[in-house]
């Protein structure tokens, strides 16, 4: 019988235990587990994820461990004829608190969610960053995200031609 917990090694050489249920929420770890059936129970290496970020991922998985799978969710909503395309608002209060972190941490969690293939967490992080971009002028976005304006006048002219002048230009 498979053990109830899995060991993983993070990029900073920390070994962390996580439950099999949480591990299976990551398609990447799940695939590794399936590939190593019958092999010695060694810690699974996660060279792209730090222990700090992995703990955040585990927190999210713990909160969402009883959520229905995405496919089931769509079927259920379709039945009620309430299906809508992906909504960009974050409705869960716990999630709102979860994403209330520094940009550096948010970006690291997004990268980890992408590497570990945790779909719900990945979508949450994308939505959060998109919400941070919403309603801001290019200058405000540069300031918020520390981006240098490296656009040339030719680039700006090409954009105006493609998209038209915006309120920000006038």
């Amino acid at each position: 019988m498979a053990s109830e917990s899995i060991s993983v090694t993070t990029s900073d050489d920390q070994t962390i235990q996580l439950s099999r249920k949480h591990a299976q929420m990551s398609q990447t770890i799940n695939s590794m587990l399936e590939d190593s059936v019958g092999a010695d129970q060694e810690a699974i290496p996660l060279p792209n994820v730090s222990s700090e970020v992995l703990k955040k991922v585990i927190d999210w998985c713990t909160h969402h461990e009883n959520d229905p799978a995405p496919v089931e969710k769509v079927k259920k909503l379709n039945k009620k004829r309430e299906y809508k395309a992906k909504n960009s608002t974050i409705s869960d209060e716990w999630d709102k608190n979860f994403v209330n972190a520094e940009l550096r941490v948010i970006v690291d969690i997004l990268l980890a969610a992408n590497y570990l293939d945790v779909k719900g967490l990945f979508e949450l992080m994308c939505k959060h960053i998109a919400n941070e971009l919403k309603g801001k002028t290019p200058d405000q976005i540069r300031e918020r995200f520390g981006i240098q304006d490296d656009l040339t006048e030719e680039d700006k002219a090409a954009m105006r031609k493609a998209w038209g002048a915006t309120k920000n230009d006038s």
Binding site: K84, V107, A130, K134, K136, I141, Q148, W163, G164
Partner: protein, 302 residues
């Protein structure tokens, strides 16, 4: 330390796909990386489909639009990119939003003025200064590649039934003419069929001025507004035009795709619908409509 620009291209695209088109344009203007990360046909196609599903309210409309999407993908016109399709459909605000918030409709002369941000390539010309006497006047404008929509506004102080006879088009360059008084003036004996010329580099019109149709040149005004049709599908004056334009591409799909010929062919049934909008809602019983629908599904079937 990780920043937003440290993310790989595909992750950045996954983020900005959630943005409303209006905000998306601001994000593209922040830096070169953000602009060029979207230089990808697959991205715009995905974005187009995303907003299609998100915005369309009725299931039938979603199905219709998705069918067209498949059809457009099959045709794969090289000159029309997915970015342009997206821009045409989602970057430009919907008609209802413009009607209530942005559009400035002058009650007196019913001239439609759009805010600067939506009219980068349109211009208005007052023609009176060049008209001094009776005769046939020709006006021609050099423009970038079309298609264009031309609004010819004729306003008389009194009485309202005074009309200006519109002459023939010049060198096959004219696209269409609509008077801002709400009446539609065609170029083929008054037939309300606009000519859509996708390749024109100039637009010309002729206006015949005579005593019988020109009440008082000093007090009347003639103005011409030229707008790119692909940038301003909503510029038509009458309330039924947005309806017609919304369905033009749908009908074009029925007639074999989104190319120039099918658009022109699609206009004829739409003109009939425009003449009697109510009949559209019962038109599904008509044989031609059934035939068109079955034709569409044959076309998009794998």
């Amino acid at each position: 330390m990780s920043g937003l620009l440290d993310l790989p291209d595909d992750l950045l695209r996954n983020i900005i796909i959630h943005l409303n088109p209006r905000y998306l344009v601001h994000v593209l203007q922040t830096c070169r990386r953000m602009y060029y990360v979207t230089d990808n046909q697959a991205f715009w196609k995905r974005l187009y489909a995303h907003w299609l599903l998100k915005e369309e309210k009725s299931l039938l409309e979603r199905l219709n639009q998705l069918s067209l999407l498949l059809e457009e993908d099959r045709i794969c016109e090289s000159e029309v990119t997915w970015r342009d399709r997206f821009r045409l459909r989602w970057w430009l605000p919907p008609w209802t939003m413009l009607k209530h918030e942005d559009i400035i409709l002058d009650d007196e002369d019913r001239t439609c003025r759009l805010p600067k941000e939506y009219t980068p390539l349109s211009r208005s010309v007052r023609l009176n200064d060049d008209i001094q006497a009776e005769g046939l006047y020709h006006f021609e404008f050099e423009v970038e590649r079309g298609p264009y929509h031309v609004v010819l506004g004729i306003r008389h102080p009194t009485p309202a039934d005074q009309q200006v006879q519109l002459g023939e088009h010049v060198d096959d360059h004219i696209t269409s003419m609509f008077a801002t008084d709400g009446r539609h003036y065609g170029i083929d004996g008054g037939t309300p069929i606009p000519r859509i010329n996708w390749d024109t580099s100039s637009i010309g019109i002729s206006v015949r001025i005579s005593k019988t149709n020109w009440y008082n040149p000093r007090e009347s005004t003639i103005s011409l507004k030229i707008s790119r049709l692909d940038d301003h599908p909503f510029i038509f004056q009458s309330v039924e035009y947005p309806f017609v334009m919304d369905h033009l591409h749908l009908f074009a799909g029925l007639f074999g795709g989104g190319n120039r010929v099918s658009l022109i062919r699609a206009w004829r049934p739409l003109a009939a619908i425009r003449a009697s909008p109510h009949s559209f809602f019962t038109a599904h019983q008509a044989p031609w409509w059934k035939k068109a629908i079955s034709s569409l599904y044959r076309t998009v079937a794998p």
